[in-house]
Amino acid sequence: MEEIKKRIMIIGATSLMAEHCARIWVKDSPVDLTLVGRSTQKLEQVAEDLKVRSPHSNFNILQTDFIDPIAIRALIDKFFEIGTVDIVLIAHGSLPDQNACQDNLVDCHRELLVNGVSPVLFAEACAFHMQQSDYGRLVVIGSVAGDRGRKSNYIYGAAKGLVTRYVQGLQHRLADTNVKVTLVKPGPTDTPMTAHLKSKNQKLASVQDVAKLIVDAVDRGESTVYAPRKWGLIMMIIRHLPTIVFNKMNI
């Protein structure tokens, strides 16, 4: 008898963090995996790789517009219509140049949409179905940057802060259900997003370690996870620094 495969959807599936989560999921057992992104070609590269790793898994690729609420709703509705969904991971994001966002409101607007509004729309569309079926795990990748605004990246931070507050509310809404919502807050991690930070000698976590923490947090149904975990402590300190001290820091 063929085992029933977990149905998983990854939004922003070309993100390196997401790709490494997928590698862990397919390693555990064959899955039914839907990869959502904005570039079919890149999604295909990810799917080909996973297919070699797990020949018995099923893979689907969906290309969509990430800020069009109508398209998002249609995509999610269709996916849930087909059958029960075990996990949805919302991973996309982009780390903008803060100065560019200050100088140009078009940039600022786009980054707020991609990092803040877009993941919320996807999550909201999923929450509806998960609540109805009283089943499923929803994981959203936020950031430590959402914990406290700072001058070097507060546009990105503000969008991630929006995600944090949104997930908090959603967790409250779904507290009495079997649906588990997880917010992941990575610290600086070695992915294409941070390639430019290496030259500044910034220490970056390995993407494999972060992906492992994400997958484990989903398994356990944790509500918030810092990845690597030490960031929980660091951000607690940063959040509690008095303004007078914080504003003197060059971060």
Binding site: Q45, E48, K51
Partner: protein, 431 residues
């Protein structure tokens, strides 16, 4: 700029690092970021993977598989995939890389560019012997696909071509079937070089993998011979062993006169008493050092050199004895001295290192000019015996030594990408 060093840690220098992750973007990225050179895992000991103050193209992000045919064992993957990833995924499926070096923490691209060899050279040749196709991106935007029958000259220049012919992006490898992860292995001590050669010859027919550790402080060349064959016996896999890490760089080399002699004696007698016939997991048999992460730091902040040469068989014994003699005279020595015979395989690469004969590899802590002068004495022996030095391990040989060891250099240069330059190429090819 990012500080990068190679495995020998002779220096750490600033590089403008460009990380590849999407193979469809390489053509675009190269156009505006050359000259430079590809860098895989930096497991080469010397300067082939370095380009101080210039561009360095990191290929580790190109780590995707593309397709695998479980009937034929043909694997297509990106060039930054680690040999380890292939082994761990494929061995449980009944396939294994036909040839691997003594570390599996190297990339497919790096293994091709140095046309690496393993313990089974006499049976399966080099890594390049198992490559069906290579896709190269050149700095002028050209994309070239080559293989043993498709643009064979380009293929022959690229295999063992130190990354000089373009960036390898995709590769088709022919894996070989294997029953499981286990090998039948034997450990046999030898008292001198004649015994070593007898053992190597006697093992050639019946044993796929052969290698030996030689006590380079012994004048006659005693050592421990190891051989192994894959076995059908299936015990399942073993759980991941714990990894040890060298936590920091000691201020001076831990490998010195005081530590070397007792270590070599200890290792020799330990293995001499060892039960001679055992079952070994492929990871511990093929890649014994991979479990000691960062062992290269043991040599302290000045780093170390590896000296590896190959000598044609007819001069092998005498040349090796003379080199051991030089080592004894210098009082310097090496923990990791490996002696092994190569088979008669003709390498596919114009610049491939392996050739029929015997290869000796030795590690030495960097003692500046003292080391350099000592290596010149070894060079003289190698040159006289018409041998050559392995470029993957080299950071110091002279142009003369290079040109005498690699007679196909001029032919090779026709296929070079003029937008690729490394510290190795500037040192030995002039640009």
């Amino acid at each position: 700029m990012v500080a990068v060093s190679s495995w020998g840690r002779l220096k750490s220098s600033e590089h403008n690092v460009l990380e590849f992750s999407d193979r469809s973007q390489i053509q675009n990225l190269l156009k505006s970021n050359f000259p430079g050179v590809a860098h895989g895992m930096g497991r080469s000991y010397g300067d082939v993977c370095l380009n101080s103050n210039g561009n360095l193209w990191f290929t580790r992000g190109l780590d995707r598989f593309i397709s695998f045919d479980s009937k034929t064992g043909k694997l297509i993957c990106e060039a930054g995939v680690l040999l380890k990833d292939i082994q761990q995924m494929m061995v449980p499926k009944g396939w294994i890389l036909p040839v691997t070096p003594g570390t599996q923490l190297a990339t497919v691209g790096g293994a091709i560019a140095n046309d690496v060899h393993g313990k089974n050279h006499h049976v399966l040749g080099t890594f390049g012997n198992h490559i069906n196709k290579i896709k190269l991106v050149r700095t002028n935007g050209d994309i070239i696909e080559c293989g043993p029958t498709l643009f064979p000259e380009f293929f022959s220049a690229t295999v063992g071509g130190f990354g000089m012919t373009g960036v390898i992006t995709e590769v088709e490898i022919q894996l070989r079937p294997v029953a499981g992860p286990w090998l039948n292995t034997e450990i046999i001590p030898y008292n001198d070089l004649d015994e070593f050669f007898n053992l190597a010859d006697a093992s050639e027919q019946e044993w796929e993998h052969t290698v030996s550790w030689i006590d380079c402080l012994s004048k006659k060349g005693r050592g421990i011979f190891m051989r192994g064959n894959h076995t059908d016996l299936n015990l399942g896999d073993i759980p991941n062993k714990s990894q040890l890490t060298v936590p920091f760089t000691p201020p001076v080399s831990l490998v010195n006169k005081l530590s070397l002699k007792p270590f070599n004696m200890f290792y020799y007698y330990l293995n001499k008493c060892h039960k001679s016939n055992t079952l070994s997991h492929y990871e511990s048999f093929f890649y014994p050092l991979d479990n000691l992460q960062g062992w290269n730091k043991m040599y302290g902040p000045r780093g170390f050199y590896q000296y590896q040469c190959v000598i044609p068989r007819e001069f092998g014994r005498d040349a090796i004895l003379e080199m051991l003699n030089q080592i004894t005279l210098s009082g310097d020595g090496s923990f990791l001295a490996v002696l092994k015979t190569f088979g008669d395989f003709k390498s596919v690469g114009m610049m491939s290192f392996p050739q029929s004969g015997v290869t000796l590899a030795l590690d030495f802590p960097n003692k500046g000019n003292y080391s350099l002068r000592f290596f010149e004495r070894l060079d003289a022996v190698v040159k006289e015996a018409t041998g050559r030095i392995y470029i993957a391990k080299d950071a110091r040989m002279s142009r003369d030594m290079f040109e005498s060891g690699y007679p196909r250099l001029n032919e090779f240069l026709k296929y070079r990408d003029s937008g690729i330059s490394s510290e190795f190429s500037r040192r030995l090819i002039g640009s």
